[in-house]
């Protein structure tokens, strides 16, 4: 089918206004949250109902056209980019289909914005626990595809722990239900397979997610350190003491200053080398005992001060500052890159030192803001892309940082996914056999490899593909 004919066929399903075919209108869809990659779709289509979405996927199946699902496009691994193929925009499917407050379950369409779900269930005293920093923008569908985490996932678990069932349309047009609303996972854990599949296994039509009761008591603490090292050691000490905070986040000085210069200024001390933002929650009875323990560990570990948020307003400000930190760094220089890696928490102090050394050696300023409690690092480097020498140094530093993390026993992504960005790292951390197993798993869902092609697993790692190159 020609480009024009496909555009017309799609428009016949969803209406003309829901289809973009002109290159000048597709440009904005050539990037996601990571502006380094630019891959422009040939067509973008935005179904408004589940029925339209099903018809669209079936048309694409009949015509053998590859497609890429896209939620809000906040992904940080280039996952939602379609190179000449069809972009399937899911941001118009925004209904919360049902809320079962008694059993603490909600069924949502994929385009529901994460924080909107929490807002919708707030009247029941419930919330949706996985809270990526991008929660004000990203969609549940995108969260499912990336198995998104967030500050509060330290205690409550990541997306996978909160999805009990999914209705998925496979790339060939078949609709399947994975998991079940009663939470029983008899047979193979297909929900576990689909969550984190980065759009390569099909499109989530709806998700049944677990809701979490709002805690009776919450305490938010901000500890202020004069060295990164001390903050990192305090983090390890807290975990070692057996306390499980709801969240435990670290920000360094460069990050603090960027946030304090923004409209999300939270009152972080701008002369601190690092701060730990910690939250405890649970029952009112006993919570202050843990607060005291945390405070003591921090003070013993060299904190200058530990501040406890006095009210909901202060708590919100402290969290907003943290969650908007990545965005706030845009003011430092004209361009920004972010790395995402996980290391064992015990290695935190040493890896942070290494990262600082790498930054210094390449004459770059590295801003760290990350989920310390999970050992999930996010070094950010602001730089000027107009300067080829600086760009080259950024390149080298990013690779060196990743190497340091992998050498420390870490993995190449904590939560942002592989997408396009990390695909070259895959052969370094997985054996050829493991990669081939991934290829075969994918073939079960998408034998024709039409869903989000070219992402996650390098084509050359798939034995079947390399043995029969003509099929590709």
């Amino acid at each position: 089918m020609s480009h024009d004919a496909l555009g017309a066929a799609l428009a016949a399903i969803v209406g003309e206004r829901q289809v973009l075919v002109r290159p000048s209108e597709l440009l904005v869809y050539a990037t996601d949250g990571l502006p380094g990659y630019r891959k422009q779709p040939g067509i973008a289509v935005f179904p408004r109902t589940r029925d339209e979405l099903v018809q669209v996927v079936r048309l694409l199946a009949r015509e053998g056209v590859p497609f890429v699902p896209r939620g809000a496009g906040t992904g940080l691994s280039g996952g939602a980019l379609a190179d000449g193929s069809v972009l399937l925009g899911l941001n118009r499917l925004t209904r919360v289909l049902s809320v079962d407050a008694e059993n603490r379950l909600a069924v949502v369409e994929p385009g529901v914005v994460n924080v909107h779900l929490t807002r919708a269930v707030a009247p029941y005293g419930l919330h949706y626990a996985p809270d990526p920093s991008s929660q004000a923008a990203c969609t549940i569908g995108g969260n499912v595809a990336e198995n998104a985490g967030g500050p509060h996932c330290l205690k409550y678990g990541v997306t996978l722990n909160h999805v009990v069932a999914l209705t998925v349309i496979l790339p060939d047009g078949d609709i399947v239900t994975l998991g079940s609303a009663d939470g029983e996972r008899d047979g193979y854990d297909l929900v576990g397979c689909f969550v984190g599949s980065e759009g390569c296994f099909g499109v989530a039509l709806d998700a049944t997610v677990r809701l979490t009761r709002n805690p009776q008591a919450v305490r938010t603490l901000l500890a202020d350190f004069t060295s990164m090292d001390a903050a990192a050691r305090a983090t390890s000490a807290i975990i070692a003491a057996g306390i499980v905070p709801a969240a435990l986040e670290m920000m360094d000085q460069a990050t603090i200053r960027a946030v304090e210069a923004s409209i999300y200024a939270a009152g972080y001390p701008t002369d601190a080398a690092a701060v730990l933002l910690m939250e405890l929650d649970g029952l009112e009875a006993g919570i202050d005992v843990d607060v005291e323990k945390l405070r003591t560990i921090c003070l013993d570990g060299g904190a200058r001060a530990v501040r406890i948020a006095r009210d909901e307003g202060e708590r919100t400000r402290l969290w907003q500052g943290r969650k908007k930190a990545f965005g706030a760094m845009g003011r430092i220089s004209s361009h920004l890159v972010v790395q995402d890696a996980v290391i064992p928490r015990t290695r935190l102090p040493e890896v942070l030192r290494l990262i600082a050394q790498i930054g210094a050696a390449e004459r770059l300023s590295v801003c760290n803001v990350f989920h310390a409690g999970d050992g999930n690092l996010h070094p950010n480097i602001p730089y000027n892309a107009n300067d080829p020498d600086e760009s080259a140094r950024v390149h080298r530093a990013m690779r060196a940082i990743m190497r340091a993390c992998v050498d420390a026993g870490g993995s190449v992504t904590g939560e942002h996914g592989i997408g396009l960005d990390k695909i070259d790292y895959m052969p370094r951390i997985f054996s050829p056999e493991s990669l081939d197993a991934m290829c075969r798993l994918r073939a079960v869902f998408d034998p024709a490899r039409r869903a989000n092609p070219g992402k996650v697993v390098p084509v050359r790692s798939c034995r079947e593909w390399t043995q029969a190159p003509a099929t590709r």
Binding site: S24, L27, A137
Partner: protein
């Protein structure tokens, strides 16, 4: 990240306002936090109609990936309300309002403005033409013609409904305002639309400032602030109007300039930016800009003095150019709280644009209505009899929307409420 870094490209449109705005474009990190704050994105769900997307389009113009003549780009830039809701969500501090103005100015240099925009702007720039137009409007309102025609379908009917909604919905007695003038001298911008259709609000502004101990002085020669022109990309006319106002307010000798139309206040606070490249006026512009205050700021600084009871059920809608452009959110509430027995019900998404945005509702009626619809629904949820908001465009847009939806809820400027409350106290 393993492979790719953002790269920079040479400028394809050197020496245009947009090319000079490149550093502002560079602040965008593409995080997407602005998407859910943007009324046109929420109404249309296309990133081309979102702040992040429009920034991509602007960059593509600078880098030559898209042409200034591309009709699609023009459409998406035209559709922007200029409400700056995105600035209030952006952690990176992208100066979106300035980027939009620069883009529109760059586009306008290449293509004529749509006829309806040219006509409207031409009228606003010429006091006699505006005077005639507004007098006809008042006549239509006074004779009841406006309310008759407000039911007519389409753009014309909406315009008459807007006109109809400028009538004051509450009774107000005459009273003589008294104060000791100890808070310093203030000149009040009378402006264009405000003086033409809301002259009563201008008088009320002078009275409530007087009651709160400001000494109100006249500034003959002031007029249209130029905001509509600047937002449409006609920066030259905007500059001419700005110079006229600067001269007039300087001559008045007033220490402060009070503005009761938030769109005008936002513009005047940016006179320094507007005249940045004019060496003869730059400093004068900056000095004047630093003396401009929204009337609610001045009143909140003075208390404001409480009035007599007005047992009315009111909800407050925050004009974009007050909350997003001037970052003023508490003072108007302080004004309303100074009125005893006034019942204030919060409005859901009060800081979302109503779709008025200057002359936007004349140019993009369809999008404007799509943006207005949720606002009307939220107003209905409050059950309030009055919506208070401090900008003529918003008063008319929401007022017309309510009238055409058959609602009995009316619109009113917060200053008129405070004034009515003072009038009762005095009586």
């Amino acid at each position: 990240m393993s492979g790719s870094l953002p790269t920079a490209k040479p400028c394809a449109i050197p020496d245009t306002p947009l090319a000079h705005a490149m550093p502002g474009l560079d602040t965008c990190v593409h995080c997407g936090f602005c998407l859910q704050a943007c009324p046109t994105y929420l109404a249309l769900n296309d990133e081309n109609d979102s702040p992040r997307g429009r920034i991509v389009l602007m960059r593509a113009l600078v880098e030559g990936d898209l042409s200034l003549d591309d009709p699609a780009v023009q459409t998406h830039i035209d559709r922007c309300l200029g409400c700056r809701g995105c600035e209030s969500a952006c952690p990176s501090g992208v100066p979106y309002g300035q980027l939009l103005e620069a883009t529109r100015a760059t586009l306008t240099a290449r293509r004529p403005l749509p006829a309806v925009v040219r006509l409207a702007l031409g009228v606003f720039a010429r006091p006699w033409a505006l005077g005639t137009a507004l007098a006809m409007g008042r006549l239509a309102r006074g004779t009841g013609v406006a309310s008759l025609l407000a039911g007519v379908k389409g753009r014309l009917g909406f315009a008459f409904a807007m006109l109809q909604s400028t009538a004051l919905p509450i009774k107000r007695k005459n009273y003589t305002a008294r104060g000791d003038g100890s808070r310093g001298s203030v000149a009040v911008l009378q402006g264009c639309v405000m003086e033409g259709l809301f002259a009563g609000t201008n008088r009320a502004t002078a009275r409530v400032l007087t009651v709160n101990d400001y000494r109100v002085v006249a500034a003959p020669g002031e007029g249209c602030c130029g905001a509509l022109h600047a937002h449409a990309g006609d920066l030259e006319t905007a500059r001419t109007l700005a110079r006229r106002n600067i001269a007039a307010f300087e001559k008045s000798g007033a220490e402060l300039v009070a503005v009761n139309a938030s769109g005008c206040g936002a513009m005047m606070k940016e006179y320094g930016h507007l005249l940045h490249d004019d060496p003869a006026w730059r400093e004068r512009a900056e000095r004047l800009a630093s003396r401009v205050r929204d009337v609610s700021e001045l009143l909140a600084a003075a208390g404001p003095r409480p009035g007599a009871a007005l047992p009315l059920h009111v909800t407050y809608d925050a004009p974009c150019h007050l909350v997003h452009a001037q970052h003023i959110s508490a003072p108007p509430l302080a004004v309303l709280r100074a009125i005893p027995e006034l019942q204030l019900t919060p409005l859901v998404d009060a800081d979302q644009c109503c779709g008025s945005a200057g002359i936007y509702n004349l140019v993009e009626p369809e999008t404007s209505n799509a943006v207005l619809a949720p606002k009307l629904a939220h107003v209905a949820e409050t059950g309030a009899a009055l919506v208070a908001t401090g900008n003529p465009g918003c008063l008319m847009q929401i007022g017309a929307g309510l009238a055409r939806a058959g609602s009995t809820t009316r619109v009113v400027h917060p200053i008129d409420l405070l004034d009515a409350s003072y009038a009762r106290r005095d009586a």
